[in-house]
């Protein structure tokens, strides 16, 4: 029996939809239980409040930034942000170009400065050093250099006798190694300095022409360093490799090879010529990256060719890491802040509320219009929209838990606008059914025939929409992505809902007396639709106007007729018109 197979198919589709929804709920439940997930989607900063900074590389024309460079930048920035005690910061690359840092809440000035300052590499002479009196020794951070104040690192190059330039202590420092830099306040700061607080309050930030109190990267040693002698921008290249002995035989020791430009070479030569004459820690030269000492090798000989090598307790990995860091810090293209946005929490809440209110109003308007146009079928629109809403919500929540997707204001706008996209599919479908009814099919047949044609239209329209969403998501930057993402999800949900819910629902409703019988308020009343000519091959003289007049005048009487009676009446009605 055709009737039962249709019904069975319809029910099977509905069951499939139920399975999908239950699976989505299950997946969400699983991420809530096992992965610290939530039942609500995570919100982006413009809805939650917080700070978002977009950094873009400063590139000379024709230059390209590589993914490797970006990833490196992300990991350095992540270290900096986390070091500032900010949890839940998100750092992403965007469009293969930009780095977006999102920090919830209102981060302090130091954190912002830390992110915004480029990886700053400096060479400062060591004035004094001490074993760190820090409370916590953080094990993380690459153990790049020596673990004692004296350091096992050596700066070695072609030997060159140095001119002695021992400074006489005076009130005004005469050079960067002058101990006169150590003022009583600085001494006090040094004494009380806790390496664990290295990043807490911008303690390791000092102008380049002043002394700096800071620690070894692994917090093992703390230093007072002189002013910057050579800036990191002077490094043209850095690489890691096995150090060759003086006879040219490769040793098993890993080291980092640095190359300076001509100005840097000159500066480095001047400094090392001075340092080589000094004793103890003053002989050490600190390499400072972002305010932390990554290595403080001793100066054995003055370096004249601008190609120092740093040896120490390097492994292959740590040497590579340092050379990368040096290279990265020395990149001529730093990152510049392209945009920085701070949204207060109240503005975020009010934006979210506005979005939700707009959505509710939009939904009500669409529902009201659907009832006006399609009578009881408006109910099908509203129920289908609700199913689509539930599915969309579950998918977004799931992706938020699993993929770190965050719902932004533009995304909310995309969702609200999508109400129209989804409802449009139902309209295309209903209008198709009506066309078939106008052609004289019965309600059952009209639903099936209408569906076949409508689905093709819905499919191609949704494919076009999906292309738009995917292209925008892949290629566009910023807000556009969030918008495209939600629009894309809803387009897919639309296809699922219209195929697995709306159509089966119509099939089942078509069996009821109310809809199948074409009740006046069902939206499927063949009389009101002026079902005048039957058979697609038959065309006859204009008859529509007359038929409709007849139809409307006799509608009241025919409302209670059976389909068979109505069909009979149809034919007689047409005869009247033809006469």
């Amino acid at each position: 029996m055709a009737r039962t197979t249709t019904e069975r198919k319809a029910i099977r589709s509905l069951v499939w939809l139920l399975v999908i929804i239950v699976a989505l709920i299950g997946a969400n439940g699983a991420s809530v239980l096992f992965n610290d997930g939530q039942w609500t989607p995570k919100l982006a900063l413009d809805l939650e409040g917080g700070t978002q900074i977009t950094l873009s590389p400063q590139l000379a024309t024709g230059e390209e930034v590589t993914q490797e460079q970006l990833d490196q930048a992300v990991s350095i920035i992540r270290q900096r942000v986390n070091a500032g005690g900010v949890s839940e910061a998100e750092i992403n690359t965007q469009g293969g170009q930009n780095i977006v840092v999102s920090i919830p809440g209102d981060p302090d000035q130091e954190t912002l400065e830390r992110i915004q300052s480029s990886a700053k590499l400096e060479f400062r002479p060591v004035l004094t050093a001490d074993a760190a009196s820090n409370s916590v020794i953080t094990p993380e951070g690459t153990d790049v250099s020596g673990d004692t104040p004296a350091g096992e690192g050596d700066v070695a190059a072609t030997p060159d006798p140095a001119a002695p330039a021992a400074p006489a202590p005076s009130a005004r420092p005469t050079n960067a190694s002058d101990l006169a830099w150590i003022t009583p306040e600085l001494q006090e700061q040094f004494a009380s300095f806790d390496c664990a607080s290295l990043d807490a309050v911008g303690a390791n930030v000092a102008p380049i022409d002043e002394a700096l109190v800071t620690c070894e990267q692994d917090s093992s040693v703390k230093y007072i360093l002189g002013p910057v002698e050579v800036a990191g921008e002077r490094i043209t290249d850095a690489r890691s490799g096995l150090i060759g002995s003086q006879t040219g035989v490769t040793t098993n020791e890993w080291g980092v090879f640095i190359e300076f430009d001509s100005v840097g070479s000159q500066e480095f030569r001047t400094v090392t010529e001075r340092l080589v004459t000094l004793l103890d820690v003053q002989n050490q030269f600190a390499i400072v990256l972002d305010g932390r000492v990554i290595s403080a090798p001793r100066t054995n000989v003055a370096i004249t060719d601008g190609r120092p090598q740093i040896s120490g307790n390097f492994t292959e990995e740590s040497a590579k890491a340092l050379s990368d860091q040096l290279k990265f810090g020395a990149l001529p293209i730093g990152f510049e802040v392209q945009s920085s946005e701070n949204i207060s929490a109240t503005l975020g809440v009010s934006q979210l509320q506005s979005g939700i209110i707009a959505g509710i109003i939009g939904l009500m308007l669409v529902g009201a219009y659907a009832f006006l146009q399609y009578r009881a079928l408006g109910g099908v629109v509203v129920v289908s929209l609700s199913v689509a809403a539930v599915m969309t919500y579950l998918i977004i929540t799931y992706l938020s838990n699993q993929q770190g997707f965050r719902l932004s204001l533009a995304g909310v706008a995309g969702l609200v606008i999508a109400i129209g996209v989804v409802a449009d599919s139902f309209i295309v479908y209903f209008e198709r059914i009506r066309d078939e009814l106008r052609d004289g099919r019965n309600v059952d047949g009209a639903i099936e025939a209408g569906w076949k044609r409508a689905f093709r239209t819905i499919l191609i329209s949704d494919v076009i929409n999906l292309i738009a969403a995917v292209v925008l998501f892949v290629l566009a930057v910023g807000n556009v992505r969030g918008f495209a993402f939600t629009l894309g999800i809803v387009t897919i949900v639309d296809l699922i809902v219209v195929a697995l819910f709306t159509h089966p629902l119509m099939q089942l409703l078509g069996r009821t007396q109310f809809f199948g019988g074409g009740h006046r308020f069902s939206g499927l009343d063949p009389k009101a639709l002026g079902a005048v000519y039957r058979g697609r091959a038959q065309f006859r003289a204009p008859s529509g106007v007359g038929a409709i007049k007849v139809a409307s005048s006799t509608r009241e009487a025919q409302r209670r007729q059976t389909i068979a009676e109505r069909k009979a009446a149809d034919i007689s009605g047409e005869r009247k018109v033809e006469r």
Partner: protein, 336 residues
Amino acid sequence: MSRLTQFGNDLYTGARSFDFIGRRRLWYAIGAAFIIVAVSLTALRGGFVFGIEFRGGSEFRVQGTTAVEEGTAAATARAIDAVDSVVAASSPRVSIVGGDSVRVQTEQLTTAQTNDVRNALAEEYSVEASEVSTSFIGATWGEDITRQAIIALVVFLLLASLVMALYFRTWKMAAAAIVALFHDLIITAGLYGVLGLEITPAAVIGFLTILGYSLYDTVVVFDKVRENTLEDGAESRRTFAQSVNLAVNQTLVRSINTSIVAVLPTASILFIGSLILGAGTLRDIALALFIGTIVGTYSSIFLAAPLYVHLRENEPEVKKQGRRARAARSESGAVR
């Protein structure tokens, strides 16, 4: 049943018919006129007004202040005072947005200045400093968005043309749809230019979304056109143009309904966005879409379909259909 349904019935049976195809020169002229007006008025106004995201600068937003009740002038003066106390003679742009917030845009400020202005504004409007949102946008940010948007536009047009050409099995439908799409984009952007509305990244999102929408409408119409022209075939009594015209008439109610349903949520965002939040993401997206959806519906009916006929009518097969139709008509004398 509603009046629109009756109207739909008449259109479907052909009892009532609008001559969309026959008067196509008129529609082309109207479309061209709109485009010329949009472009020339925009040019006369001195081009588009770009939002701060494209100009670069700093923006502050004071949330939840009662000072707005004092009136626009007083609230504006407060903002100017606050900014001037930090950066002299900076002439900030101040606007009242929504019921209780003030937006202040200045030239690009340093981090320290930004902080100072924030505190000054908080004091001036007697709110917590945390209620003052700040943003800073480098001038290259907008360029970046624009460049990516243009790349996205080109890729989308190529892909969509390909898909449509495959689906409809003729490149002519795709071409007609794309021309209509450009018409929609130019007119929507033109309205921004003519009215001097700020173009923000959110507005650009709106423009890009029009892509999908405009084609959606056109695809629905073309699907029916294709169905009718295939069914009618060479033996039909209707000419090719008549088949297309009937299809457009038959989908007219559908087009109106889908557009109204698409416009309703957009209008609701536009309304809420302007009323509660004032200028911002919601309003900018919705405004572009609102205009674009309406123009898109118009263009699918009045431009895309006639253009398609224009592209096809010189094909030998189609011409043949026309001759047979005329011959058949003269024999039978039928009006249709």
